[in-house]
């Protein structure tokens, strides 16, 4: 029995597509991703977006949980510094998730697997680029097995 559902597990296969879980702030990055969509900007469909109230609301537990459930990469994207709807949420996100990033790397998890970006509602093209780059960087790493649940 596979616990990964239809996720493609074989990194060597031509069709391997890294699976990204993207936590997007609803005020900017989520809107930015929508803009990328309506602007018909081409970018890979590897990211499953999860809209959150603020990048500051992203608990390290969300990141770890996404990896545990089999994400190959986790993206957290919020408003540019100074533009937070809640004034300082993204400052908190930056500090907290910096620690998550450092700790992951410390344990030997490939640093490319966790990424943050600031993408405003107007930056559809940037969002597309962020995802494109992320997919490109993840592809050579193959599937993420370090933190993933072992099969039941």
């Amino acid at each position: 029995m596979s616990r990964q559902g239809d996720w493609n597990l074989n990194p060597m296969s031509e069709t391997y597509e890294p699976k990204i879980v993207a936590f997007l702030c609803k005020w900017c990055s989520s809107a930015g991703s929508d803009l990328a969509g309506v602007s018909r900007i081409q970018y890979p469909a590897n990211a499953t977006p999860i809209t959150v109230a603020c990048s500051g609301s992203v608990s390290p537990q969300y990141v770890l949980s996404a990896f545990k459930k089999g994400a190959d990469g986790v993206l957290v994207s919020g408003c540019h510094i100074g533009d937070c709807h809640y004034m300082e949420g993204n400052y908190h996100a930056r500090r907290k998730l910096y620690l998550v990033k450092e700790l992951l790397e410390f344990t030997g998890v490939e640093p490319e697997r966790f990424r943050m970006s600031w993408v405003s509602a107007a930056e559809g093209a940037k969002f597309a680029q962020v995802v494109r780059d992320f997919v490109d960087d993840l592809r050579p790493l193959g599937s993420q097995d370090k933190m993933r649940n072992e099969p039941t």
């Binding site: 700790l103 992951l104 344990t107 962020v130 649940n149």
Partner: protein
């Protein structure tokens, strides 16, 4: 040089005058060399207090436990509780005060500056003594002296001292009501020396190392139980809701998210230890009790040290430095690292 008589006298005095309700300290253990935590409430019991290299426990844990015990019984104490605290232990009391777990007037700190004499690492000692089992340990200058079945064994303290003590930056309990010992720190090794040694490993070597550690974890939760700052009534790894009052609804119990399963599998163990380290970021004061008690020798101190050093270097933050500090992750600076963000 710390004289145990001084600590006993002070403990007796504050119990006699009724200034405190009880004193938490160490006494001779019943199972051999190691001292054990004790809570005394009678002045005459002060005679049983000891101070030796096996006083490794961070007694602020007992402070938290005693508070919880009273709360469960619906009792409140109108008098402060005293504890004997080394420099490191006093820093965890500071964090507890910073987090409003106690009011300052509820705690009486009998501070002990170990003057850099540190405490024993029993595993290092076992390696050196090779089968001998000491009955007692004592400080003597730069040495620890052990009574064993083959008579007295004298060892340079630095050979068997806990890593965190070798790397100690501040042995003096800044937070105190009374203090014993001088303001002196030996710093036998550079701060974060063990961490730096580990960081010479690169990505794949690191993972090989941690994979092995996480696969060995048996999830006995001793690391969590022994940590004075793991005081949450309910932990992310608990399988059921622990705080249940008559007002708790069935929905609250039913809908509790299980982020981490009980299984001692590598992925769940990874989730547990990462979560714990992150929750201790900016709070852990490196008493290293988690590492000491781990029955399968997982070097948990490395995880905590890593975040401690990041906080220090990148955010200028030092856990336990002051009661007035804001929490690490609920504060920020304009110049926090940003270059890692696209």
């Amino acid at each position: 040089m710390i004289r145990i008589e001084d600590i006993r006298t002070q403990a007796r005095d504050i119990l006699e005058t009724g200034e405190v309700r009880a004193v938490i300290g160490w006494r001779r253990g019943s199972r051999g060399m190691a001292a054990e935590p004790v809570l005394i409430s009678q002045p005459e019991e002060a005679e049983s207090l000891v101070w030796d290299p096996t006083c490794f426990h961070n007694l602020s844990l007992n402070l938290v436990q005693e508070r919880k015990r009273l709360a469960r019984k619906g009792m409140a104490s109108n008098k402060p509780l005293a504890l004997v605290a080394k420099g490191c232990d006093a820093r965890s009391v500071t964090v507890l005060l910073q987090e409003n777990h106690f009011r300052r007037e509820d705690v009486y700190v009998l501070g002990v500056s170990c003057e850099g004499s540190g405490v024993l690492d029993e595993r290092k000692l076992a390696r050196v003594l090779d089968g001998l089992t000491p009955d007692s340990a004592a400080y003597d200058g730069d040495d620890y002296v052990f009574q064993t079945e083959e008579g007295e064994k004298r060892l340079p303290a630095r050979e068997v001292m806990a890593d965190r003590c070798l790397e100690c930056r501040s042995a003096y309990p800044r937070l105190n009501n009374a203090v014993f010992g001088e303001e002196k720190t030996r710093g036998l090794e550079a701060p974060f020396a063990a961490l730096s040694r580990f960081e010479q490993n690169r990505g794949a070597e690191r993972w090989d190392f941690w994979k092995r550690q996480f696969e060995r974890c048996i999830r006995c939760f001793a690391c969590r139980s022994v940590c004075p700052l793991c005081y949450c009534e309910e932990c992310v790894v608990d399988s059921i809701r622990l705080e249940v009052t008559p007002e708790t609804t069935a929905d609250e119990k039913a809908n509790r998210i299980r982020w981490i399963e009980r299984s001692a599998s590598r992925s769940d163990n990874f989730g547990y230890h990462m979560t714990r380290a992150l929750h201790l970021a900016g709070r852990c004061i490196d008493c290293a009790e988690c590492e000491r008690v781990c029955p399968v020798h997982i070097p948990l101190r490395l995880l905590n040290n890593k975040l401690e050093r990041e906080a220090r270097e990148k955010f200028g933050y030092e856990p336990g430095a002051s009661v007035d500090l804001p929490a690490l992750v609920s504060s920020f600076r304009d110049d926090d690292p940003n270059e890692f963000i696209r």
